[in-house]
């Protein structure tokens, strides 16, 4: 069976006065129902842009898009990139749903929670306002909001951040979507609330058998819920693999750098966290060769200065483990070893 979402060679470019911003560049991945794909990367690496393009929520006036994002619906495949805005709109909420980073501002301040959820429900279901509110109460109950029948009449500002994110999840799931894109769903929340929300997402995924794309910059979040991960850098996927290999067998210096920069409880005390030196390159004038070269500790090891002249391909280094690096496997193994020595 085909995965529910197949993204193929998706590129999103924004023309600006200074030149073309290649926000996401030749992205391909797929997610099946019941599976969670994490898209990891720092700010500006193209994570959100890619998912907004899949949802058809990008700015149509200012973005140039190429590639495909195919939803394999029971009625047949639909490419949300080439389909008309109206067709894509009718997929939103029903076949694919999205939750956002900041639950504080993502809910309309003037409408009650119940109205906002039932509005989403009524788009794809026949029923009165009372039916919609009843459905909203069920959903709020499901996402773990206590006294849902009372709180359904309240406004967003009467909810805490974590509760609002639960409301967002309830609203996104009200029409039983097959794909949920969660764009940094826990970034704006307290750490304790973060793990509750992640748990809820996992539970909901089981309940609705959804394909989930989890966009995050936090590898800790990834470890908790994802099955597979795409690591993005400067608009491109630099490594893609199942979650175990990302952590235990990272095959790209950038992934290694990310892992090196998160604190771990099982590591010895007194160790300094290793930052990746430098800044990501401008997306307008990407350097020739590897975009990560300027920040990469190992680029000198590659003969003929290939890192500066030749863009590395995304190669399948191991089964279902892709990485975009010129280093030989022996060199990468060595780099991995030094990572472990650090720890």
């Amino acid at each position: 069976m085909k995965p529910f979402l197949e993204v193929k060679n998706l590129s999103v470019t924004f023309p600006t006065e200074d030149g073309l911003v290649k926000a996401s560049n030749d992205i391909s991945f797929s997610v099946a129902r019941g599976e969670t794909l994490a898209v990891v990367g720092e700010s500006g690496s193209g994570k959100s842009v890619t998912s907004l393009a899949v949802m058809g929520l990008h700015n149509r006036k200012s973005a140039i898009i190429s590639g495909q994002a195919i939803l394999n619906l029971p009625t047949g495949p639909v490419d949300t990139i080439s389909a008309s805005p109206d067709v894509v709109r009718k997929l939103r909420g029903k076949s694919m749903a999205m939750i956002f980073q900041d639950p504080m501002s993502a809910l309309h301040p003037y409408y009650t929670i119940g109205d906002q959820i039932s509005e989403a429900w009524k788009l794809y279901n026949e029923g009165s306002r009372a039916d919609g509110i009843k459905r909203a109460v069920e959903m709020l109950d499901l996402v773990g909001i206590p006294a849902a029948d009372k709180r359904v009449k309240e406004f967003p500002h009467q909810f805490s951040g974590g509760m609002r994110q639960r409301v967002m999840i309830a609203m996104a799931l009200v029409n039983n979507p097959s794909l949920l894109i969660a764009d940094e769903p826990t970034t704006a929340l307290d750490v304790t609330v973060q793990s509750q929300i992640l748990q809820l997402l996992r539970q909901m995924q089981k309940e609705f058998n959804m394909a989930v794309i989890l966009i995050t910059h936090d590898l800790g979040v990834v470890a908790e819920v994802a099955d597979r991960a795409c690591v993005m850098y400067a608009g491109k996927i630099v490594e893609q693999s199942n979650i175990n290999e990302i952590y235990y067998k990272p095959d790209h210096p950038y992934t290694m750098g990310l892992l090196n920069s998160i604190p771990r409880l099982d590591q010895m005390e007194g160790r300094r966290l290793q930052a990746i030196p430098g800044q990501p390159p401008s997306l307008i004038s990407l350097p020739a060769g590897c975009a990560f070269r300027a920040r990469c500790t190992y680029s000198k090891l590659v003969p003929n200065n290939r890192c500066a002249t030749e863009v590395p391909e995304l190669n399948e280094k191991f089964a279902n483990h892709f990485s975009r690096c010129h280093l030989s496997e022996a060199q990468l193994t060595q780099a991995r070893a030094s990572l472990e020595v650090h720890s």
Binding site: R89, G93, A106, P109, T112, L123, F155
Partner: protein
């Protein structure tokens, strides 16, 4: 809600007392003697003194103020015997220049000003808000550019220029009869004549406000469109029309209620220039004449107080409306 209302109402009363005291104080310090102005050049000192007594200007200012307040609630009588004049409550005083109780003057002028304000208000709200929405939705297109041009012209043209231009055009085209100008016709006796009388003043007054409101609405709609909750609405699968009507406009137009309420209230105190250009006998012209020509203290005091009252009451109404629209500012 009741507590809130009580609090706001008492604040309103305090403001009005302060306004009346200030106006009283200003007049007592002015180097103008109202008693001297009651009669012509050949006036003798005893006559002036007699008039001063009749006007109640021979007592200290705080006593004058006390009499004013008492008169407002209980009515007021001036002079004795055959020269006795009385104004029933609510009395703002007696205008010796016009030989009429000020309340009567206000009663005559207010319907004119109200007619002018309400008609202009409807025009500018309809025009400004719809132009603003169109401009925001067609950002950068010709609709937006024309709206910007309109805003520029509307804001740059002072009312006395646009008013006179409109007046000249209307006269040249024979749209109005100059004889009818400034004749007050109640809409209840002759609605058509009323409408014709006010058409040009409405347009003149609405023009400048419509320009401001277009700009304001445009900016608000554009800003609200980029809010996260609009993106959420889109992610739900709502159509653009529903998003605009239900989600964007609700939030974008809420602040317009505030300024609209205050602008309207400001006009109820009299649109001085427009009334002057079109010779409308409203509160604006009454104030202007009282200040510039007659030094008519009771009338000035009354129009000032009236304008202040409209303003503070409008503030209160706007606050209540806002609480109704935006749940975040609701109390209790």
């Amino acid at each position: 809600m009741l507590k809130f209302l009580a609090k706001r109402l008492s604040a309103t009363v305090v403001v009005l007392v302060l306004v009346s005291v200030s106006v009283f104080m200003i007049f007592s310090f002015l180097p103008i003697d109202p008693a001297r102005l009651t009669c012509g050049k050949g006036c003798s000192a005893p006559v002036i003194e007699a008039n001063r007594h009749r006007l109640g200007l021979d007592v200290p200012v705080q006593v004058q103020y006390g009499r004013f307040v008492k008169g407002f609630f209980a009515g007021r009588t001036y002079g004795e015997g055959g020269a006795r004049l009385s104004c029933p409550a609510p009395a703002f005083g007696y205008s010796f220049n016009r030989h009429e109780c000020v309340t009567q003057l206000l009663k005559e002028a207010f319907p004119v000003t109200f007619s002018l304000a309400i008609g202009a208000f409807i025009i500018w709200i309809l025009m400004g808000v719809s132009l603003g929405i169109v401009a925001a939705r067609r950002q950068g297109k010709w609709q937006d550019k024309s709206a910007t041009a309109f805003v520029l012209v509307g804001i740059s043209l002072p009312t006395f220029v646009s008013g006179i231009l409109i007046l000249i055009f209307a006269l040249k085209l024979g749209l109005i009869n100059p004889i009818d100008m400034g004749r007050w016709v109640s809409p209840f006796t002759d609605p058509v004549a009323w409408f014709k009388n006010f058409m040009l003043p409405w347009i003149t007054l609405a023009l400048i406000f419509a320009a401001t409101y277009t700009r304001f609405t445009r900016a608000n709609v554009i800003e609200t469109s980029s809010e996260d909750y609009i993106r959420t609405a889109r992610a739900k699968g709502l159509s653009e029309g529903v998003i605009l009507r239900k989600h964007t406009l609700r939030a974008a137009l809420a602040p317009i209620i505030t300024i609209a309420g205050l602008d309207f209230a400001g006009l109820l105190g009299g649109a001085i220039i427009t009334e002057q250009v079109y010779n409308l006998p409203g509160l604006g012209r009454l104030s202007l004449r009282s200040v510039l020509i007659d030094y008519d203290l009771p009338t000035i005091l009354a129009t000032t107080l009236l304008a202040a009252t409209f303003y503070v009451v409008a503030n209160l109404v706007v606050d209540i409306l806002y609480a109704y629209i935006d749940p975040r500012v609701r109390v209790g």
